[in-house]
């Protein structure tokens, strides 16, 4: 077959159809835009991570621990100094900061650094030379948000424990820090040599220690870590190299890309559905032309080639528009996600992402357009002599191998795209199957509606309503395509909101469930009573004073913890390493707290005596991670004293209540003589009163930190607000995707509706009656499509919340309802907009057309 004539005819014949075809193909533009933006953003971010990995870590190796280095570890590190290895430390812990001038306090994150920190990367400050002056004396560099909280300024004095520091500047950026974290705990950098005199790190205080390592050229990171690993591992000290940092970050970015890609891929496939529906309408218009071409000597393959070429070119234009949009969109993504990223992302057009987006977009457009296009092969030249209905004119053999092949191509393409974008092939297949199921369900719902409409309509109904309902099942109806487009849009948006609601619900701190609104912690054993008295003296109520004892697991059922952690025997139920190695902060009491519910066994009530082991109750999730069973014995290392216990119950804890909650609760007799701290809850009314009390407490007890619930809620709200913005962006994108697809689906049958509407006018219908008929049709379509989409979204949101986020799920009907109403309104608006010619055309048009 000669190509040139086909090309020439394809170009010339497309003249009046280009705009329409482009409209149909624009359905994939947004999908391509999403993919290009997401891939470009991920590639740019990964490139930035690679470029900045060393600066992110701050050294060649990072060594971290939650407790002071053992002498063995310290000696091992010291031995490396002789080989030219340099070390710089940062100790991080939480503490109250008191602004002397204003008297205001705030819980902050103290970072005490030694000279030389960090070895790589630059901590930017205002003024710019402030970092170089940090080690000059008792000075501090703080987050700007801290100055706001304390109503302080550069030059003011900050009290940290028993020591005072002058604020010499603010932090602009710290490599590797996610800026949203400063909303939770603003940072204060001080010289490490003054930590001891602050007296903040006492018994039970939680602190993180990081030692940065700078290696000489003669020693590689691999050699360094290889030499130290046996010593560090046995002490529970972790090491991380630049390569590992890079790997961890790029892995996290890959996961983010995979998640965002799901949205992009769904957008693309939804666009494909829009293309199919639009091209279907296009095909109907071309039956006459094809019949003429066949008369004039065109073979079926020449005809197919002409229109496939048109579809490919328009698909390329649609994809190109999408690629340009994507490049622009990727400029916005770093700003949307800036506060969650640990690197400065240098944005530049990514040619791989653009080409991939283009190719995928053209392929999807072609594959979905092929389905209606192949029917053109069946158009007989006889149609020039005797024109039959469109459906009959396009009808082919009952079993058409090419149609089957095209259907298979669509299925394989969806599966291949899903696998290519997912983390694991099975996940991709699952995703593709899920999309297929959603499409099938929506199609089924549409078919059900058509069938039900036919049965339900009654002669006694008003004419307008009957006509509107009849539109749902008449030949050439748009029910399936509109319900699919609409339902999918609702499904996407509603899923996003439902998942968001359920995730955010788990971090929603509840005040009304607790009588307290201020918590004091790091209260030493001998400070409990005095603090209690101070609070009461100011006229407030101490709601609760809870003892807390830090400890670690020494053994379970007689097997030492170190052996359990190192046990890789298959078939054994694994005890999670993090749970075995962590420091537990436990309490002791013989009654259940209001935030707890026993799920197995019996909660201890005291009264047991030696030699019976003291009872403990374990949080059910931790019990699962530790692979515990009722009756197991656990020996705890409590400040080098071994305390054996027996597990007698599991509890479900409501962690969102503003109360001290514990993974493990001991029977009182086990720990009441152990060194402990307190957590004290108070009920204080009024913002000024809270600030005053916090100031008085930190003045008298500099090591005691405090938090008021309002601040927690505000902080959490600020962080969640940023998450919500990102989610709203995705929901908005989903809405933007649904509209062109819906437009394409609705406008595809515009000609038929125009003809019908004008004929009705010939027969005496008023414009108002015609308008009401169309309104009835679109309302019904909108309601059904939205309902089907909402139902599907509950299922998908459950699956995502349960399997991906591992959280409990409750349907959030309010956002689903809002989404449904919005989409119904959009469907009706688009339907009426595309049908406005019905009102404008005179009845003469129908006669002329006949």
């Amino acid at each position: 077959m000669a190509i040139a004539p086909v090309l020439s005819l394809a170009w010339k014949e497309s003249r009046t159809a280009r705009r329409r075809l482009l409209l149909y193909m624009s359905a994939i533009s947004l999908g391509v835009a999403a993919l290009v933006a997401i891939d470009s953003f991920a590639n740019n971010t990964q490139r930035s991570v690679r470029e900045q990995a060393r600066a992110l870590l701050g050294g060649d190796v990072s060594i971290t621990s939650r407790q002071p280095f053992t002498p063995r570890v310290a000696a091992a590190l010291d031995s490396m100094r002789a080989r030219g290895v340099a070390f710089a430390d940062v100790t991080t812990f939480g503490s109250m900061a008191l602004a002397d001038r204003t008297g205001r306090t705030r819980l902050a994150q103290i970072r005490a650094v030694t000279p030389g920190y960090p070895f790589y990367g630059q901590i930017l400050t205002a003024p710019s030379d402030a970092w170089s002056r940090l080690q000059s004396g008792r000075v501090a560099l703080v987050d700007p948000s801290l100055l706001i909280s304390l109503n302080a300024r550069v030059g003011d004095t900050l009290s940290l424990g028993n020591s005072r520091f002058v604020i010499i500047g603010t932090l602009v950026s710290v490599p590797g820090d996610v800026s949203v974290a400063s909303a939770i705990g603003p940072r204060i950098y001080i010289p490490a040599r003054f930590v001891a005199e602050t007296d903040l790190l006492q018994f039970g205080s939680r602190s993180d220690r990081e030692t940065l390592v700078k290696l000489p050229p003669t020693l590689s990171p691999g050699q360094f870590t290889g030499r130290l690993r046996p010593v560090l591992d046995s002490a529970g000290v972790r090491m991380r190299t630049v390569a590992q940092t890079e790997f961890n970050l790029t892995q996290a970015i890959d996961q983010l890309r995979d998640f965002l890609s799901v949205i992009g891929l769904v957008a693309l496939l939804l666009g494909g559905v829009g293309v199919a529906s639009g091209v279907n309408a296009f095909v109907m218009r071309k039956i006459d032309t094809v019949a003429i071409l066949r008369c004039l000597g065109a073979t079926s393959w020449q005809v197919l080639a002409i229109y496939i070429l048109q579809a490919v070119v328009m698909g390329l234009v649609g994809a190109a528009v999408g690629a340009v949009l994507g490049v622009l969109l990727q400029l916005a993504l770093p700003h949307v996600l800036a506060e969650f990223l640990p690197v400065d992302v240098h944005v530049s057009p990514d040619s791989t992402a653009i080409i991939t987006g283009l190719l995928v977009g053209v392929w999807v457009a072609l594959v979905f357009a092929l389905r209606p296009l192949v029917a053109l092969r069946n158009v007989s030249p006889l149609q020039t002599l005797r024109r039959e209905s469109d459906a009959v004119a396009l009808r082919g053999a009952r079993v058409d191998p090419l149609r089957i092949l095209v259907a298979l191509l669509v299925v394989l393409s969806v599966a291949a795209l899903g696998i290519a974008r997912a983390e694991r092939p099975l996940q991709g297949l699952g995703f593709a199957a899920g999309i297929g199921a959603a499409v099938a369900l929506l199609y089924g719902a549409a078919a059900l509606l058509s069938s039900a409409a036919r049965r339900v309509v009654r002669p006694s109904w008003p004419f307008v309503l009957r006509q509107g309902v009849a539109s749902l099942y008449r030949p050439g109806n748009q029910t399936r395509s509109v319900v699919l487009a609409l339902g999918f849009g609702v499904f996407l948006m509603s899923t996003v909101y439902q998942v968001q609601r359920n995730i955010l619900r788990t971090v929603d701190v509840k005040l009304e469930a607790s009588r307290a609104n201020v918590v004091f912690f790091d209260v030493q054993g001998d400070q409990g009573e005095p603090l209690d008295s101070l609070i009461r003296a100011e006229g407030w109520t101490v709601v609760q004073r809870t003892p807390m004892v830090p400890m670690r697991i020494a053994s379970i059922n007689g097997v030492p913890a170190s052996k359990i952690v190192g046990d890789t025997t298959k078939g054994q139920r694994r005890r999670e390493g993090w749970a075995m190695r962590r420091e537990f902060r436990s309490t002791y009491r013989d009654t259940l707290a209001p935030s707890e519910k026993v799920t197995a066994g019996h909660f201890h009530t005291g009264g047991t005596q030696a030699p019976a082991l003291p009872a403990i109750s374990v949080d059910v999730a931790v019990a699962h991670d530790l692979a515990l069973a009722l009756g197991d014995t656990i020996v705890w290392n409590v400040q080098s004293v071994l305390v054996p216990t027996r597990v007698t119950s599991f509890r479900e804890v409501n962690w969102t209540r503003f109360e001290p909650n514990f993974f493990v609760v001991f029977e009182s007799r086990a720990l009441q003589d152990a060194p402990h701290q307190y957590v004290v809850l108070a009920d204080v009314h009024g913002d000024d009163a809270v600030a005053r009390l916090q100031r008085d407490v930190v003045t008298r007890f500099p090591n005691v930190a405090s938090l008021d619930l309002t601040l927690i809620q505000q902080t959490v709200g600020r962080v969640l607000g940023k998450v919500t913005s990102a989610v709203r962006f995705m929901a908005g994108l989903s809405l933007a995707l649904a509209i062109p697809v819906l437009f394409s689906a609705v406008s595809a049958t515009r000609r038929e509706r125009l003809r019908e509407g004008v004929l009705l006018k010939v027969l005496g219908a008023t414009r108002r009656q015609v308008g009401r008929i169309m309104l009835a049709e679109y309302l019904l379509l909108g309601v059904l499509g939205s309902l089907a989409g909402v139902i599907l979204s509950v299922g998908s949101a459950w699956a995502l919340t349960h399997y991906v986020f591992d959280q409990p799920f409750t349907p959030a009907l309010a956002p689903a309802l809002v989404v449904a109403i919005v989409m119904i309104a959009i469907a009706v608006a688009i339907g009426m907009l595309t049908s406005r010619d019905v009102f404008r055309e005179t009845p003469m048009a129908a006669l002329r057309d006949a």
Binding site: A2, K12, R15, A291, C295, T384, L385, R386
Partner: protein
Amino acid sequence: MLEAVRLTKEYQSGEQRLAVLHDVSFAVPDGAFVAIVGPSGSGKTTLLGLLAGLDVPTSGTVTLDGTDLARLSEDKRARLRGAKVGFVFQSFQLIPTLTALENVQVPLELRGDDGAPARARELLARVGLADRAHHFPNQLSGGEQQRVAIARAFSNAPSLLFADEPTGNLDSDTGHHIVELLETLNRESGTTIVLVTHDLALAGRAQRVIRLADGAVVSDSLAPAPSAE
């Protein structure tokens, strides 16, 4: 030569089998001008479709220059049409998205003929539309559209031209000119013309008239002016 032998065409209509044509036989020599007449529903259009290879008979044969059309695949029939057959339709059947010149070029382009534009211009001039070459069908009158269709029908120098009610949508004067054009081209190029019409006056201009009624040939005369109904 075009020859139809015992042509029959039946359609399934619900439970019934409808015979639209039964046992039609005739031969058309090269260069002839033949009219097929009959009232509405007589099977004229069905016969035309079979003779032109647009459809296949239920039984019987149609041979064009010795080739049995029913034995060819749809695409082979298309190629044969492109090489040997021209069409003129009642509703002109121009491709609306192509200009007059481009419409005339289509059969030549489909064959990969490089001289298509020149030949098309020549034909348009022949039918008196050289100055309308770049107009679209909706910019032309009915008569002009039909002249473009005639130019297109002759573009591939067909040995056989089928005209289905070529004057049906035209006023009498215009229709008269169209038929004159067909006659002239028939004389000059020797193309066999098969004209289907219900217009007896138009049929009278042909050299031979085959009359159909109820799907069968009721008369086949080489003389003009058959008796009126």
